[in-house]
């Protein structure tokens, strides 16, 4: 992979929610980088903090949530030093200008993410008018262009439609058109296809890939779907309970998953086209409540390779286990293989085999 | 003084302008009228006044023209306003309520049997539109309204004797002859009564014809009766009147404005045409009149307010006298009881009736009441504790013997003596038979006194609350049944009420108040119950007969005798004899406290208001009886 410069470097980001029942460390020391024009997939189950990470970057986390530590260095404006978004006042004009024009976001629920009282054209134009010095007519022109770009049929007509008149897929196209209308350098896509049907999902994913190629923006793609991540991402960060447990390029992750959680995830989904009568592999137990995170490695109670006395007491650090592949697991630290009190992990099963 | 001078000037200029047309310009008029005369819009004052205007002697001094009299009336029927200006009957009560004086009628003559009467009317009186008033205006009322079956106006009290109508004959434009089938010596007294007797019987024929179904294209008599009826007659600015002021504007439930009647037929002793005051501006409240009066009164926004000044507001009103630049004159309410407690002798429970007809029982009820406490708590101690004994101002009490009698009656059984009450009850067997703490009937069954009070009569409720405590203290279980006004009548007529408590009222004996001391009419305020009165009134066809030989029957008989006695003195003596039944048989209706003073708020520049007045009664029509046309507002101060 050619050394591209990074558009975003997140280091040790901590976003905590200070609720009446206690502190919820939704994001608890997350670090990753996104390359210019590249795609980072963020993979994780519900409650792992992947969405909060996205929101933290755009500084959209509202009280009682708060970024308590870490840096979010964005190299879109100052390519050398970058701006630390974590240090900018979330309510400042500077941050507002950044949103939508530098970094844009697409959400999971296209059905509710648009204001029902305004036409989609109006809402796209709104994004343009607040960031670009153009007339209304020009903004309208751009909006139509963007709708055309997202393969919206009859964009001139569609611009007059209200959200409820559009299907979910269409609305997601509008959301994407809106997000891309100011040509952002980074797009955060938070489960953009989860609520969509499989055919529409395929269309949207295809569209996003094409647009990325055309517009050259970086994408941070948040999803829980291994299939989707495989299609979209170049790099992947796997999150579990507010932490990145594994990060690598996409091929390495799928061919050689290292963290027991990643491995288990991959084994627990049915493999399409390989119908077998057997049972699926499972991860035992449930994801713990984020209010009640286990000590040590947060995954240890469910881990098949749990090392007594280590995993339940110490917190593993994200370390490079092989070039371009980072994992946060004691199994990959020197001398720990022998401690195994439970059966060693099953040999990683490559997905690509069938 | 300046004002007076101006009047003289105006008069002089008038004389100059009009020349000495008649050569006898004796009368003065208000400047505004003089202007109109000058402009030719109005005939000269001499032509407007009757041949012999009624001369009114001012209470203090000759007044000044001008000013607006602001006051509050309590509803759209404008009762207070009518009592002020509509006291223009055949005759008018004297200012001290002692006898009456000529008004529209100047003289009359009875035959010895009191069956034939000739009445002479003042000549030359004009309606407020200038049309002359003649006896035809009275005859129209009698023939075309009372006697016309299509017009729902009934013959009023006094025009029938023993159920038979009088007949009226016109002798000339100003003389009428009345014939009665039986002796009717009280007829002229009825005609002297306040706002709703003869004062409304003289109607402007020339105007009313236009609304009469027989003389116009009116479909029915609705419009006619509206212009006649007490509650609505003042709502029509075009309706001619004989009063000192005439309606110029009426906004329902808001305001009634009256201006001087340029044809008013009275003058002061210096020949100034009355009234002095230009305009009456009367506010009609939509809620409580007493509250509005209190507020406006203390703010000095009322020039003279006679009614609706709450007794309990007296300290408040007194305290603000200086700030509001007014004085408070204490007139009397002229009432006899607040409340009067009326046992009903037509209650469908023989056991209760047995007790009601037992005078010891009623005496016990009366002695059990702590009247002083009621007075202290509800009337600032300003009233008098007393029995039900009519108003002290009644004519029959004006002689020394009358006074003595009155005192005796008022004091009868009125002392607070719970022990006596208890022993009286014990004596008739009303004792606690079952040991539940309450006295029972002589037959041992439970006794419960149920007193109906209309919800709006808060004064009575407050007082009866105390009476209830007193009665319960002697062991008589009492229930206060507070009911809506609307229900009272129906319950009365159905005989469902055991005891009724009624608010303040005034009564002057034979003419004004017969029904309250003798059951002769089927009305709700009848003593002993509406149905007992109805029995008398219908000659026994309807209603409930009083028990034979009972005090109620005695009272009815006494009344029958009284009304045909021609000689006034003999009548008065007989009347006191009838009253004696009330003393001998114990209280028949139970009185509590009465003779309240009634505060009248008068601005300091509002003059010629006499110190005496009786506020409660409509018969006497105060302040009308105090001649409001000679009230004036001092324009200098």
């Amino acid at each position: 992979m050619a050394a591209k410069s990074n558009i975003l470097e997140v280091s040790d980001l901590k976003t905590h929610f200070f609720t009446e029942q206690g502190v919820v460390p939704a994001v608890d020391g997350v670090s990753f980088q996104i390359k210019r024009g590249g795609t980072l997939g963020v993979l994780g189950e519900s409650g792992c903090g992947k969405s909060v990470t996205g929101f933290s970057i755009l500084r959209l986390v509202r009280p009682p949530g708060e970024i308590v530590a870490g840096q979010i260095r964005y190299y879109g404006r100052d390519t050398v030093n970058g701006d630390d978004l974590a240090q900018i006042d979330a309510t400042s004009e500077e941050m507002r200008q950044m949103r939508g024009s530098e970094i844009a976001m697409v959400f999971q629920e296209p059905m509710t993410s648009l204001d029902p009282l305004f036409t989609v054209g109006n809402q796209i134009m709104e994004a343009i008018l607040y960031h670009q010095d153009v007339s209304k007519a020009e903004a309208r022109k751009i909006a139509i262009e963007m709708l055309d770009k997202v393969r919206m049929p009859q964009p001139r007509e569609m611009i007059k439609k209200y959200p409820h008149q559009l299907s979910g897929g269409m609305r997601q196209r509008v959301m994407i058109a809106m997000a891309l209308s100011c040509r952002p350098k980074l797009l955060i896509a938070d489960e953009p296809t989860t609520a969509l049907d499989v055919t529409t999902e395929a269309q949207i994913l295809e569209l996003m890939r094409e647009l990325q190629e055309e517009l050259g923006m970086a994408i941070m793609f948040i999803t829980h779907d291994l299939g989707v991540i495989a299609e979209m991402a170049e790099e992947v960060a796997v999150m579990y309970l507010g932490k990145v447990v594994e990060q690598s390029d996409i091929e390495s992750l799928f061919t050689d998953p290292q963290h027991p959680y990643t491995k288990a995830l991959m084994q627990s989904i049915p493999k399409v086209g390989q119908k077998a009568d057997g049972r699926l592999e499972t991860i035992r137990g449930m994801v713990p409540s984020p209010r009640n995170i286990p000590t040590g490695c947060p995954f240890h109670p469910r881990c098949a390779s749990f090392l007594q006395g280590i995993c339940d007491t110490e917190l593993p650090q994200l370390k490079q286990s092989k070039p371009g592949h980072w994992v946060s697991c004691f199994l990959y630290e020197d001398g720990n293989a022998g401690h195994s009190s439970t059966p060693p992990p099953a040999p990683p099963q490559s997905i690509g085999e069938g | 003084m300046l004002r007076r001078f101006m009047v003289v000037l105006a008069l002089l200029s008038l004389l100059l302008a009009g020349g000495f047309a008649t050569g006898q310009d004796m009368y003065n008029e208000a400047p505004s009228l003089a202007e109109m005369v000058a402009a030719g819009e109005l005939p000269p004052v001499d032509e407007r006044l009757p041949d012999e205007p009624l001369v009114i002697e001012p209470v203090e001094e000759i007044g000044q023209y001008g000013g607006t009299w602001r006051a509050v009336d309590n509803n759209d029927s404008n009762g207070w306003t009518q009592m002020t200006i509509n006291a223009e009957g055949f005759l008018k009560w004297n200012r001290d309520v002692n006898g009456f004086r000529p008004n529209i009628v100047t003289s009359w003559e009875w035959n010895d049997e009191a069956t034939e009467l000739t009445v002479n009317f003042r000549q030359g009186i004009k309606w407020s539109d200038g049309d002359p008033m003649t006896v035809d205006d009275y005859l129209f009322w009698w023939n075309d309204m009372v006697l016309d079956e299509n017009v729902p106006v009934n013959a009023p009290f006094g025009t029938t004797v023993r159920g038979e109508l009088m007949s009226v004959e016109k002798l000339d434009d100003y003389t009428l002859h009345f014939s009665f089938p039986y002796a009717n010596p009280l007829f002229m007294e009825y005609k002297s009564r306040g706002a709703y007797h003869s004062s409304i019987h003289i109607v402007p024929e020339h105007y009313m014809r236009g609304f009469h179904p027989a003389y116009s294209d009116a479909e029915d008599a609705t419009e006619l009766v509206n212009r006649y009826n007490f509650g609505s007659r003042m709502h029509y600015p075009d309706r001619p009147t004989l009063s000192a002021w005439m309606t110029v504007d009426y906004v329902p439930s808001q305001r009634l404005v009256l201006d001087r009647n340029p044809f008013y037929w009275k003058v002061d002793t210096e020949g100034n045409q009355l009234p002095y005051i230009d305009r009456l501006d009367i506010e009609i409240p939509q809620g409580s009149a007493t509250e509005l009066v209190a507020l406006k009164g203390i703010a000095g926004e009322l020039d003279m307010q006679v009614r609706d000044v709450n007794l309990l507001d007296v300290p408040l009103v007194l305290e603000n006298q200086e700030a509001g630049d007014y004085r408070v004159i204490m007139w009397s309410r002229g009432d006899y009881a607040w409340p009067w407690i009326i046992p009903m002798y037509d209650y469908p429970d023989e056991g209760i009736l047995d007790l009601m007809y037992t005078k010891e029982f009623r005496q016990a009820m009366s002695h059990a009441i702590n009247r002083d406490r009621i007075n202290e708590i509800t009337s600032l101690g300003l009233a008098t504790a007393r029995q039900f004994s009519l108003s002290a101002e009644s004519p029959e009490f004006q002689t020394p013997e009358g006074q003595e009698f009155y005192q005796k009656w008022a004091a009868s059984y009125a002392s607070y003596d719970p022990e006596l009450a208890g022993s009286l009850l014990d004596g008739i067997g009303v004792v606690d038979a079952d040991g539940d703490g309450w006295r029972d009937r002589p037959d041992g069954s439970a006794l419960e006194l149920i007193v109906d009070i209309p919800a709006a009569d808060t004064g009575s409720i407050d007082r009866m609350d105390l009476v209830k405590e007193d009665w319960e203290a002697v062991g008589l279980k009492t229930v206060l049944n507070i009911i809506a006004w609307e229900v009272v009548s129906a319950r009365h007529l159905a005989g469902e009420i055991m005891i009724r408590a009624w608010g303040s009222a005034a009564a002057w004996g034979l003419v004004s108040a017969a029904t309250v001391w003798t059951p002769i009419e089927g009305v709700t305020y009848s003593i002993g119950g509406a149905r007992i009165g109805d029995y008398y009134n219908s000659g026994g066809e309807r209603g409930v007969a009083p028990r034979p030989g009972s005090m109620l029957e005695q009272l009815q008989d006494a009344y029958t005798e009284l009304i045909s006695i021609v000689d006034p003195e003999e009548r008065s003596a007989k009347l006191l004899e009838a009253y004696q039944i009330h003393i001998d048989e114990g209280p028949i209706t139970i009185g509590t406290i009465g003779e309240h003073p009634s505060p009248v708020i008068v601005k300091n520049n509002f003059r010629n208001v006499q110190d005496f007045g009786l506020v409660a009664g409509w018969d006497l029509a105060f302040p009308g009886t105090a001649d409001p046309e000679q009230f004036f507002i001092d324009q200098d101060g």
Partner: protein
């Protein structure tokens, strides 16, 4: 849209008819009729003579006819635009209402406009500063405002006004201005008199608007589209006023349906306490006195206004909300 409105109108007509019948029955139900109530009031004022004309009055007013007959006659005349006469005020219902509609609307509209124009911004402020000191303060004040009966406030203000100015500001005009042509002084006098009722009613009205606005806005601020707006860099002020507020007007506009009737039906007791020449006071008295045609007409008027109000609210909602418009 026209069909939609037509269908709504037709659907509500039976309701209106039921209201009419029901209203008439309700007024007829208590014991006695206008005449008994009149006579008893006359007694109350010491006029014991009035009972003598009971039968006359009853036949004069046709109150001796059976209920259904009177109802049918009245409704038939009503349909021809003749609302009948008031027994008590002895004037045509039409005149009475036209006399009073002006003052009624003057006060109620002023009250309405002020409470909404204060209530909405305060509600917005409260919602956007949820749990701040100001919000807690406003919330508490709102609850107090909702807990205070306006007529009690009116009475207190009346006394306060008297103590401060020495004037008793009942009614809508000082006597000096009665029947005078319009002038600046008269206008000032009117404004002075309006101050107390408007203030008393505005306090409770504002509290209500604020409460509703706050709740709805909080609900809207939690919606996804708000996040979208923030994410695309729209200034917060625009997000709130252009988007969230517009979306949260929904229940307020729905409440407008009732508001129209409230304009001639609200603050009845306050009207009485303050002697306001409004329809409310006529209505209350007419009901108490069983002045059936007057009360009945106002009742139908109110029912009609509820109907019109609901319709208008629906149309406004449709105008504002494409989801309804394109139904």
């Amino acid at each position: 849209m026209a069909r939609y409105i037509l269908r709504r109108v037709i659907a509500v007509l039976p309701t209106l008819f039921l209201i009419t019948i029901f209203g008439f029955l309700v007024m007829e139900a208590p014991a006695g009729d206008y005449v008994t109530s009149y006579i008893i009031r006359q007694y109350g004022h010491g006029n014991t003579e009035a009972a003598r004309i009971e039968d006359e009055m009853r036949s004069l007013l046709a109150l001796d006819r059976p209920v259904y007959e009177r109802f049918v006659t009245w409704i038939a005349r009503f349909a021809q635009g003749d609302f009948g006469d008031s027994f008590d005020l002895r004037d045509s219902v039409r005149n009475i209402l036209s006399d009073r509609i002006g003052p009624t609307l003057t006060i109620s509209l002023a009250t309405f406009v002020i409470s909404w124009s204060i209530g909405i911004p305060l509600g917005v402020y409260s919602a956007t500063h949820q749990y701040s000191k100001a919000d807690n303060f406003l919330t508490t004040v709102t609850f107090v405002g909702l807990g205070l009966p306006d007529f009690l406030l009116a009475l207190a203000f009346l006394i306060l006004g008297w103590q401060l100015t020495g004037e008793v500001l009942t009614g809508l005009q000082s006597p000096a201005f009665v029947n005078q042509p319009w002038s600046l002084a008269m206008l000032l006098d009117l404004l002075k008199h309006m101050l107390i009722p408007v203030l008393a009613v505005v306090i409770t009205g504002t509290a209500w608007v604020m409460r509703v606005m706050r709740g709805n806005l909080l609900d809207q601020l939690g919606r996804n589209y708000i996040v979208t707006l923030r994410a695309k860099g729209v200034p917060e002020r625009v997000i709130i006023w252009k988007h969230a507020v517009k979306n949260s007007l929904h229940p307020l506009i729905a409440a407008l349906g009732q508001t129209l009737a409230w304009l001639i039906n609200g603050f009845t007791i306050t009207s009485i306490v303050l002697e306001l020449p409004t329809i409310q006071t006529v209505y209350l008295n007419a009901t108490l006195q069983q002045d059936v045609y007057l009360a009945g007409t106002i009742l139908i008027l109110i029912g009609f206004l509820v109907l019109i109000g609901t319709l208008l609210a629906d149309i406004m909602l449709a105008w504002m909300d494409p989801r309804i418009r394109y139904e």
